[in-house]
Amino acid sequence: MNRGVAYYILGRFLQSVMVLWIIVTLLFLLFRLAPSNPLASYIDTTFTKQQEAALLARFGLDKPLGEQYIIYLVNLLKLDLGDTFSYSGKTVLDILGADLPNTIYLTLTSLLLAYAVGVLGGIVMAAMRGSAFERIGTTFTLMTRAAPQFWVGMLLLTFFAFQWKLLPSSGIGPPMVRYRWETEWDKLMSPVFWRHMILPTFTLALYLHGLPLLLMRSNMLEVLDQDYVTMSRLAGYSEWRVMIQTAARNAMLPVLTALTLGIGYSIGGNVVIEHVFSWPGLGRTLVRAVQQADYPLAQGAFFLIAVIIVFMNFIADILYSLLDPRVGASAQAQVS
């Protein structure tokens, strides 16, 4: 790795930190927009004025806005996200810590499935361009991208969970089973957990597979035009060898970047699927927290999702510049 690349990565990293700081500031202001003071749902009508004031003081809400902002930033740096209102005796970090693995399992499994199918599908579509099969396949893929994820989830639930009773309809497992999972490892080793994951994973993967498929297809068509592909054709390699070994390898690069970006955006976008399948992840917690006016929890979940997205955007940028020398050069020019 030369110095230019190192500087580029450092520059990008500092930029990401800046971006995150601005987002965190916006988040602070956004939550001051909340309809009443953040403790409205917490304060009982029987509270005396003194009790109310004591409570506000405990959460630092009696201080001027600037001071509150500083306290907020310091707490974030210490990863102290505060206490929740709706789950007594738990910190926001406890709850998000329990949710995050579930969201990651669901997202990563779906993404892997979607990208495996998408990349292969894209190669097949490119190889069969112009055929009726390709037209039907592409239209189907567009349909899966246009159909709302929650609706696809509802239809699958109706068939597989209610009509045919093949798969569980919600959650990650019955309480009796969950009780026995002491570690994440126990959970991952449990067939019950995976059975619960089938429907949400399939729904999410069905939506996600469209991007890699369409991207792979158009990249393939672009690459197939290049001289080196013509050369390997002339060298007498079989069509499939040309497709897979020469073209697909080069067409993969943008798909890899999309995958990296996809991890971040899916974690933020899983909200709807987690809601439909009552999957105990970050998205469902965010929705519940907003509904119950549990502002510290909502703010914490939002913050965590934003951190993941900004970090994955950073990784995607780096990957892109390392894999594609042209971007590297122009990117370096941008930084200097």
Partner: protein
């Protein structure tokens, strides 16, 4: 869901569009015409929007009942969970004291599903088109200014785009609509506040190319002001790109509005397809296998979103000729 546009945008930005100048507006009109003449799917998309637009305008005339008022039978009870007349057992309605003429049945509190479906087209199109218009205008202006001026203006606007890319989309919309009054306009504003980022980036990279062209230098030499160069000379050449991203933005906006309504953050007085699905989901229509309630709203969302996709792809094919043979 916004990632497709961003990934596409980054890839396409490096590909140069065919620039044709001459009378700018006539050129724009010809490009638009070419899109719908060349691409039958784009034309199909346009027809879908046209049909839904007619339905939306005449919704009160087309819908047989009010979408929000529960219907009552002779005894004044709500006509709960009536099946569509083509599924219901004959004679059942007379026993219950009403005449079943419901194309898609009724909800668990006796609202007419078909009338809701008709009225739902209003919020979908309203949100879709107004959000797309806002996204297109903001994105185009940001892209023009950043690309033309470069330097500090560019740096600030593009960092703002980075921030917009870092904010989780659906969570942001949820929080905004929960904190402000539940209304579709807040959803539109929240979407516009983030979605301009793709359009802005792509248009900026195209402006970087265009501003090096001879006709721009010629305009500068002849004493045209910066703003005149930007909006009179450069803007018409990138407007087709604005239409491209605008069409995709219609699709994303309709999908997002549906998701937000489904999660229960929309105005309960405004019927939308997402709201209908939320209603069905919460009243356990799934376990009753009430397909007549679940399927139609989702199909409508899918059709309108696909219409946006089709039109966007039509523009892509005309603007980026290398894609044509696909």
């Amino acid at each position: 869901m916004q990632q497709e546009a961003s990934v596409r945008g980054e890839g396409r930005g490096k590909e140069t569009m065919e620039f044709r100048q001459s009378s700018a507006l006539r050129q724009l009109w010809e490009t638009n015409l070419e899109v719908f003449q060349r691409d039958k799917m784009a034309l199909f998309g346009l027809c879908i929007f046209a049909v839904f637009a007619i339905v939306a305008v005449f919704a009160p005339q087309i819908a047989p009942n009010d979408p929000l008022t529960p219907l009552k039978n002779n005894e004044g009870d709500w006509i709960k969970d009536a099946m569509p007349y083509w599924l219901a057992e004959p004679g059942e309605d007379e026993e219950e004291g009403y005449t079943n003429n419901f194309l898609l049945g009724t909800t668990n509190i006796g609202r007419d599903i078909y009338s809701q479906l008709i009225h739902g087209s209003r919020s979908a199109l309203l949100v879709g088109f107004s959000a797309a218009a806002a996204v297109a205008v903001i994105g185009t202006v940001v892209g023009l200014l950043a690309g033309y001026y470069g330097g500090l203006v560019d740096a600030i606007l593009m960092r703002a785009a980075d921030v917009a890319f870092g904010i989780p989309f659906i969570p942001f919309i949820i929080v905004v609509s929960a904190f402000l009054d539940p209304s579709i306009w807040n959803v539109v504003v929240a979407m516009a506040a983030l979605l301009w980022r793709d359009t802005g980036r792509v248009i900026r990279s195209q402006v970087l190319v265009i501003k090096e062209q001879a006709f721009v230098s010629a305009a500068r030499v002849s004493g045209a002001s910066d703003l005149r160069i930007i909006f009179v000379y450069i803007a018409p050449s990138i407007l087709p790109l604005t239409f491209l991203y605008g069409s995709f933005a219609i699709a994303w906006a309709i999908l997002t509005e549906a998701s937000v309504s489904f999660l229960g953050f929309s105005d309960p007085e405004t019927i939308s397809w997402g709201f209908m699905l939320q209603d069905a989901f919460n009243s356990l229509a799934l376990s009753r296998e009430a397909f007549y309630w679940i399927v139609p709203p989702g199909l409508c969302i899918m059709l309108t979103v696909m219409a946006g996709f089709f039109i966007g792809r039509g523009y892509e094919e005309v603007l980026f000729p290398r894609l044509r043979r696909m």
